[in-house]
Symmetry: C2
Subunit: 245 residues, 2 copies
Amino acid sequence: MVGGRTALFRQLAQTLGEAIESGAVAVGDLLPTEAELCRRYDVSRHTVREALSDLRSRGLIESKQGIGSIVVRQQSRATYTETYSSVEELTRFAQGTPVRVYSLEDVVADADLAGRLRSRPGLAWLRLCGVRHDRQEADVPVGHVEVYVDAAYAGIREQAWTLQTSVMETVEKRYGLTVARIEQEIGVELLDDEQARTLKAEVGSPALVIRRWYIADNGRNFEVAFSRYPMGRFAYRNVLLRNAR
Amino acid sequence: MVGGRTALFRQLAQTLGEAIESGAVAVGDLLPTEAELCRRYDVSRHTVREALSDLRSRGLIESKQGIGSIVVRQQSRATYTETYSSVEELTRFAQGTPVRVYSLEDVVADADLAGRLRSRPGLAWLRLCGVRHDRQEADVPVGHVEVYVDAAYAGIREQAWTLQTSVMETVEKRYGLTVARIEQEIGVELLDDEQARTLKAEVGSPALVIRRWYIADNGRNFEVAFSRYPMGRFAYRNVLLRNAR
DNA sequence: CGCTATTTGTGCGTATGTATC
DNA sequence: GGATACATACGCACAAATAGC
């Protein structure tokens, strides 16, 4: 029959999910085949597939034709999810705030810079500095950006002065790279001379700093960006949605 | 028949997805009913449902019994996703940093407080203040927390002094509430007298402030929390992963 | 290499439950 | 209550990928 209180496939998904999370079925193991689950729980294949679909969406299993469903994770991923439709949206400056680049130079990382970039000393980077402006109030700079790009991708230098899009996307397009993950850190810093001057703020005044490390699918950390926003000019916002179930 | 090159339901999902993203079907509109889609594209209901399931997972539509499938977004969500396995993980203080509550009082929001809470003046709240400590260095407070809970859930007051878990989870358990979304804002503030004193920091010194609004599945904003961390004692970190597809 | 058995993927048909209007 | 629409569940069949012989 159809209705109990809880749908059959949800019950089955919960049963299987608990088996995985408890470790009864280990990561790397195959679940019983769909046919076997049908027999064992006396339900139709449709019901079994709905349940497996649930486990897939929770990131617990992956299914492959000819193989079966393999357990790839012991814990359901993500109770809360933050989503972006683009990288630029990260800063909530979708298309609104152009960057004026005022400096572009080649640098070799010393110990200090290497530490800030989470990289090794001696490596060469292209350093780019600019100021982000609000389109409405063009005279008040919103934030200061300081970007380091792996020298291997320094060819973007030609396009850098007229950046329509983000540095990251420019590198992606020009070199066919794919950003697999972005690590982000948000903190407070005091503005140095150059930052304060370009931002029309006081030296030593506090600012929100967003540090981002862009990591390509080959594992390479090819870009690091620091954005600084004087207190009150910007706040980082996001919304976390509870995932279904 | 079954196999062409691309699965039927994927073709249908793409067709419908394009109709939404192009604006041909506007946000707020209902899609044709499943039965209608079956007729129009000459496919089975199962195929239609697979396609709709795809659109749901992309966040483009939501389906409701007795109503239909409504378009809720024009663009597929999430090129990048941030994930948390728990709310506590948001602060990266998984279980490590207990909160010492030092104040608990009933307040009625004036215009100023109502603004900060994104609420209305005149509403009653339970206000809770505490200090977050590092387990290793117990003498140095890490951060200051200021939490407002809707007076309707003030019953947690009895448990508040001995908070093992977060306020949010306490409310969830005690009142059977479910947090549907969390809105978060990160900025910079200067510490006031009380905050500086409890944090052993200087009055007026800059701090990272994280403001969170907890919204229940009934749409009610039942808790607002402000966490303040003196410069250098804490940075907010997260990792964004590129989604498949 | 081809053949076969196994397993998931895709697709159809049908029926009943349940929420909404 | 009735009509409508999605949700759940059963069944069957064939396609496509994989592994082993």
